[in-house]
């Protein structure tokens, strides 16, 4: 275990994190650390608290106790939008994009400028914005759909659009909740390619069930079970851990 002074600067340090919903501890005294440029995958059976951990980090759920330090800042005391502004991006499990807006407008809203009421009234769609939106749209395979309303996109395209919206925020920590769920085989392959491209120069925290996908991208895997860490390490190590096989991978 990591105790005491850490010689290395962690990007994200979660320590003693607990959240209880009416006495049920969804996350129980959880501690883990994510390094710069690390890709960490969280796996675990249903109800293990995976999504809750992401909710806690991005501020959607308030912790009962414990601390979440991001670049030395305490996230548990900040509001959601402030957490985003310090550089944490979150993608939800079900694609949440703005269906009544076009792909361009979806990406533009996520562009990190003019985020106050006054700022958004005076926001100008200049060359910088247009270039950045086009650049990201190309990455997420939606370059020829910029003027399409998002409700006309397929499920996979919506997932990409949401990833694109995170990308344009340029977060230091990107959190993805089951990015390939519900995707076709070809979409999965494209998404893996997309993720491999966008994870450069940032840390990524991914929840995923697809073991093949996890093996492809993970630097390190954390296995959660009943709100606690069951095992942590490389995919190889975790796969051969008898406890993990018993509760999760074995069936």
């Amino acid at each position: 275990m990591l105790i005491g002074h850490q010689p290395k600067e962690f990007l994200l340090a979660v320590s003693g994190l607990t959240v209880s919903f009416d006495g049920f501890k969804a996350v129980n005294d959880l501690s883990f650390y994510v390094e710069e440029n690390e890709i960490r995958v969280i796996i675990g059976p249903n109800g293990a608290g995976k999504t809750t951990v992401l909710d806690l980090i991005c501020g959607k759920t308030k912790a009962t106790s414990g601390s979440i330090q991001f670049r030395g800042k305490e996230l548990t005391k900040m509001k959601e939008n402030e957490i985003v502004q310090t550089g944490v991006g979150r993608k939800f499990q079900t694609p949440s994009v703005f269906e009544d807006l076009t792909v361009f407008e979806n990406l533009e809203i996520s562009f990190p400028r003019g985020r106050t009421v006054f700022g958004s009234l005076t926001f100008q769609r200049d060359q910088l914005v247009e270039d950045r939106v086009e650049e990201v749209a190309e990455m997420i395979f939606l370059k020829d759909k910029l003027n399409t309303y998002a409700d006309e996109l397929s499920h996979g395209q919506k997932q990409w659009l949401e990833i694109g919206m995170l990308l344009i925020q340029d977060p230091d920590l990107l959190m993805l909740d089951e990015p390939v769920a519900g995707m076709s085989v070809s979409e999965r392959a494209k998404t893996a390619e997309l993720l491999n491209r966008i994870i450069k120069n940032r840390s990524v925290l991914v929840i995923e069930h697809d073991m093949k996908f996890v093996e492809d991208i993970a630097h390190k895997v954390t296995v959660l079970h009943q709100g606690q860490i069951l095992s942590e390490g490389t995919m190889e190590k975790v796969k051969n851990d008898p406890k993990v096989i018993e509760v999760y991978l074995g069936h």
Binding site: C58, V97, F98, E105, V117, F123, N147, M165
Partner: protein
């Protein structure tokens, strides 16, 4: 490569021209002063409707208490007019001359402190904007910062409307009670009651209405307008894109309040009185119905909704006073069930395509497809 370089798209421009033609030319030329004054009364609700389009149609915040802001604006204006009408000469038969008649009837012997500044027209105009704006800011901050929204917010705005009505009725000596403030006569010495004054006030109101349309359209076209739409659909996504959702809701709610207040002030001027019957729950719900009937996603549609529903109300309640409320209820149910985007939705679905085909045959130009927000249906 991207659309939206113009202030109005083609269908909105047509809506703008149609509304301007009707309000500036056709109605003043064809209606007598009495009917024109009725239209002026209907148009005061159009201000409220514009606010509801921004707040409810775009932002998804249903307020069932717009009567509160309409009333605050109206009462601010009425207080100024009432003070001017209560000069010492006009009120010399009272036991305390120089104060409004209803105060005298309620044994009040001096003008209350909060009435004093309403001697000044400048203060009054500022108050018409600021009092409802600040009140909306307080309600909005208290609600939205705590994530109270949807139905709960609607119910709370209803409660506020009920409370304000009870307050006005109960504090008879300060507010004129259930009768409201009547017998308003002059604005800076200019008599607002004769026919020529009614015509001038009508045009002032129409100009103000177009100014409000301009402001609302400006807001709609900025990124803030798109954030309102985004917020209505995926509040969390907006929050996790780095925006404080509460602040944007507060802004939309305050703008709607200010528009409603301008309408209320114009009501006091055009109709010549103000009473709690325009503040409470029923008028507040009626305001939402006008907007829904006209089309809550369309500024022009909502204005037509306010005009047409009020016109129907006047005509029907003259002949069948008991049936009117049932008719209004039925209309609202029909709108919600059959055509959720109101008249403007019907216009966009059935009339606009024909006009477009007419245009398209003349100049084949493709590439714009923004008919999700169309203009209102001009009356024949």
């Amino acid at each position: 490569m991207i659309i939206n370089s113009r202030f109005f798209n083609r269908s909105e421009l047509m809506g703008f021209i149609a509304l301007a033609a009707v309000l500036f030319v056709i109605l003043p030329l064809t209606l007598d002063v009495f009917r024109l004054n009725l239209v002026a009364k209907y148009l005061t609700y159009a201000f409220v409707a514009i606010g509801l389009v921004l707040c409810w149609g775009y932002g998804g915040i249903l307020s069932l208490g717009q009567g509160v802001f309409f009333g605050l604006g109206g009462y601010c204006m009425a207080m100024f007019l009432k003070l001017e009408a209560s000069s010492v000469e006009n009120t010399k038969i009272q036991s305390t001359p120089g104060i409004p008649d209803f105060m005298d009837w309620n044994q009040i012997t001096a003008l209350p402190f909060f009435w004093q500044p309403f001697h000044s027209l400048t203060f009054t105009i500022l108050a018409i904007i600021l009092v409802p704006g600040l009140f909306a800011l307080i309600i909005g901050t208290a609600m939205f910062k705590r994530r109270v929204g949807g139905t709960y917010f609607a119910i709370i705005t209803q409660a506020v409307a009920a409370i304000l009505t009870i307050l006005i009725v109960g504090q008879q000596g300060y507010t004129g009670g259930i009768n409201g403030m009547t017998d308003l006569r002059t604005l800076k010495g200019w008599d607002i009651r004769p026919d020529h004054a009614k015509i001038i006030l009508y045009f002032v109101e129409v100009v103000l209405l177009f100014a409000c349309i301009g402001i609302a359209q400006f807001i709609r076209l900025t990124k803030l307008g798109r954030i309102l739409v985004a917020m209505r659909e995926q509040e969390d996504r907006v929050r996790f894109s780095g925006y404080s959702v509460a602040n944007f809701k507060i802004f939309a709610f305050c703008m709607a309040a200010i528009f409603a207040a301008i309408g209320g002030a114009m009501f006091a001027l055009n109709v010549g009185f103000m009473s709690p019957s325009f503040v409470g729950i029923v008028p507040s719900i009626e305001m939402v119905i006008y907007t829904a009937v006209g089309g809550r996603m369309s500024i022009f549609g909502a204005i037509w909704g306010a005009i047409l529903v009020n016109f129907a109300k006047t005509s029907l309640s003259e002949s069948f006073p008991q049936l009117w409320l049932f008719g209004l209820g039925a209309l609202f149910i029909a709108v919600v069930l059959a055509f959720p985007n109101g008249l403007s939705g019907l216009w966009a679905d059935y009339v606009q395509p024909r006009i477009d085909r007419l245009f398209a045959s003349r100049r084949a130009k493709a590439g714009w497809a923004d008919n999700s927000v169309a203009d209102g249906a001009p009356a024949e």
